[in-house]
């Protein structure tokens, strides 16, 4: 396992990775609360981006409905906590299966009935929209008027119930991001990862060399959905409020895929780099605009759009492959 993790990784890449990790571990002791929140957002997008990337970047299945899995995870764990006082760590045991069931239904229908490409993407949107409208009418978890977790000022962080200060959330999401990275790295250097790439590249050819493409595409959807639902739990307990209009909205799904696309679809560092770039730049811009007294809704999203345009036109494979070349680190497959 450990050997597989580091096999073929150039020393320079290891050094860069270690440096980044050290900086992230030390960050809460250096930065102020605002920056810590920004870092939490960055890592949140890095994590979700990594999870989405399994489906699109590895197995080539474009999902534009990942907000569905975030929402299912968020609502499940939050409902268990609010209604029964059950810790989110136990809530996971329900949240993951529910999100996986959602993904499995979509995957099964799409792959059995050969709904591919753009049609598949639209199908994923459709299911997220279903959930949005459904949860609007689901009064047990607040319906369209929102679902709220109890908030208080905590002197000590309660990790078991995920109630506490930003620093706890920071280390939690950092751990999740590192774990997701490790999982993706291991997957990519194993049989399943190779099979996914083959399916992404050419599904018919993949079938011709004996790959049960239905099964492996299902694995990708299930894994991606499960991982994304964990981000949902984090989201619920960090923000403490959930509105179907916001959680399941198509623009959430699009936000989730920006980081890996800008960073580099199918790469391991892409989602992380993309999240840093996107959130970092948008916060900087926000600060500048705020400094000039301009506070208009929509500016940030226009900026996202322009970033996306720039990257997709100028660096179609994302920023990371380009950075990696400049740094002299070549990720084996991108």
């Amino acid at each position: 396992m450990i050997g597989q993790m580091f096999e073929g990784v150039p020393a320079r890449a290891l050094a860069c990775g270690a440096l980044l990790l050290a900086a992230l571990l030390a960050a809460p002791y250096v930065v102020n609360d605002y920056l810590l929140t920004v870092l939490i957002i960055i890592l949140y997008y890095a994590y979700t981006g990594q999870a989405w990337n399994i489906m699109m970047g590895f197995a080539g299945q474009l999902s534009l409905g990942h907000a569905l899995y975030v929402g299912l995870g968020a609502y499940t764990a939050a409902a268990f906590y609010v209604h029964f006082g059950i810790s989110p760590w136990i809530g996971i045991l329900a949240a993951i299966p529910i999100a996986i069931a959602g993904g499995a239904i979509i995957g099964f229908l799409a792959f059995r009935f050969r709904v591919g490409g753009v049609y598949f993407a639209i199908l994923t949107i459709a299911f997220a929209e279903f959930a949005r409208v459904g949860f609007d009418h689901f009064n047990w978890v607040g319906g369209s008027s929102g679902f709220f977790l109890p908030v208080a000022n905590y002197a000590v962080s309660d990790l078991w119930n995920l109630r506490g200060k930003p620093m706890m959330f920071y280390y939690l999401i950092l751990a999740m991001t590192v774990l997701a990275f490790v999982i993706c790295r291991l997957l990519l250097t194993s049989r399943i990862g190779y099979f996914w790439l083959a399916i992404r590249e050419d599904e018919e050819a993949a079938r011709a060399i004996g790959i049960d493409t239905f099964r492996y595409k299902m694995y990708a959807v299930i894994l991606s959905a499960g991982m994304t639902s964990l981000a949902g739990i984090f989201f619920a307990f960090f923000y403490n409020n959930l509105f179907p209009e916001q959680v399941f909205h198509i623009s959430r799904s699009i936000e989730l895929i920006l980081a890996p696309i800008i960073g580099g679809v199918g790469t391991l560092f892409g989602p992380i780099l993309g999240a840093f770039l996107l959130t970092g730049l948008s916060e900087t811009m926000h600060a500048i605009l705020y400094g000039f007294g301009i506070d208009i809704p929509g500016v940030k999203q226009v900026f996202y759009g322009l970033c996306l345009l720039f990257v997709v036109i100028v660096l179609p494979h994302g920023v990371w492959p380009w950075v990696a070349r400049v740094l002299g680190i070549k990720e084996r497959r991108s």
Binding site: F113, G117, I122, L123, Q301
Partner: protein
């Protein structure tokens, strides 16, 4: 409930559906010829709607009167978009094209948000509250005008593709890309024209729809999805299919709004989409191609 209510709602749904159909026609033309899924379609329509509102509030000019100039503006816009941004993406992978248009859509929605703010806007025409009485039916005048205009524009479009040289050239291009290149058609220009035509359709549809519904910037993505649903239901690339799909969705939405709750109507549209994708992926009028 008396039967007349159902009938009224059905007719009004079908009239709205005609406008939906025209909007979807634009998407269908673009896909049929360029094989690009315009993920910024609803956003282009909201641009048309806001132009109509801006003209109306400045000069009190009726959106239906201004439909042609609005369509012309959208045509230029669509032409420029295809010629500058999308043409270079013709041979890129599908997801790459998709993301390009998602980005364009993101800029459009939020550009409108910056320009016009998040509040709903509409036009108050002099006939806004008029209605026609046809036997037991009471139909809003706005919907009749809008639906009628949609039929006119669609008919013009059918005629264009059937009878004009340019329309035939575009169809040739759609049927056989390589063949079109071989006989010396300027495919990229035809693509730009096609995207312009698609944009003009959706712009005209916007000018009509603004009579019926209030517009907010957030409407864009919702109508992009609606256009997808219609086009996939009717058959991607089929022009009659788009119109038929529009009517079907307009009808479904209206009935769902009446029988259940208005907020659930998109669920029915999506339900229809899922069923079509699974059991008749080529759509009602489409030929099996995927």
């Amino acid at each position: 409930m008396p039967a007349e209510i159902y009938l009224n709602v059905a007719v009004s749904g079908i009239l709205t559906g005609l406008v939906y159909g025209l909007m979807a026609l634009g998407l269908s033309v673009i896909f049929g010829v360029i094989r690009i899924v315009n993920f910024a379609h609803g956003e282009m329509m909201t641009i048309g709607m806001y132009i109509a509102i801006a003209i109306f509030s400045a000069f009190k000019l009726d959106p239906l009167v201004m439909m042609v100039p609005i369509a012309a503006v959208l045509f230029v816009f669509g032409y420029a978009l295809q010629a500058s941004l999308i043409n270079p993406f013709i041979n890129r992978p599908e997801h790459s094209q998709f993301i390009l248009l998602v980005a364009v859509a993101l800029v459009m929605v939020n550009g409108l948000l910056i320009l016009f703010g998040p509040d709903a806007k509409n036009v108050q025409t002099t006939y806004a509250f008029d209605s026609f009485l046809i036997g037991p039916l009471i139909v809003d005048a706005t919907k009749v005008y809008a639906g009628g205009a949609a039929v006119l524009v669609s008919a013009a479009l059918f005629a264009f593709f059937r009878f004009s040289h340019l329309g035939q050239a575009i169809r040739a291009c759609a049927d056989n890309y390589v063949g079109a290149l071989v006989v010396g058609l300027d495919v990229r220009r035809l693509y730009a024209l096609t995207f312009g035509i698609g944009a003009a359709c959706v712009g005209a549809a916007g000018a009509m729809l603004v009579l019926i519904i209030d517009v907010t910037p957030a409407l864009g993505p919702a109508y992009t999805l609606l256009a997808f649903i219609i086009v996939i239901t009717g058959g991607l690339g089929s022009m009659p299919g788009a119109l038929l799909g529009g009517i079907l969705i307009g009808f479904t939405e209206a009935m769902a709004g009446l029988l259940f709750s208005p907020s659930a109507k998109s669920m029915f549209a999506f339900g229809l989409l899922v069923l079509v994708l699974l059991f008749r992926p080529q759509g009602i009028m489409g030929k099996r191609a995927i």
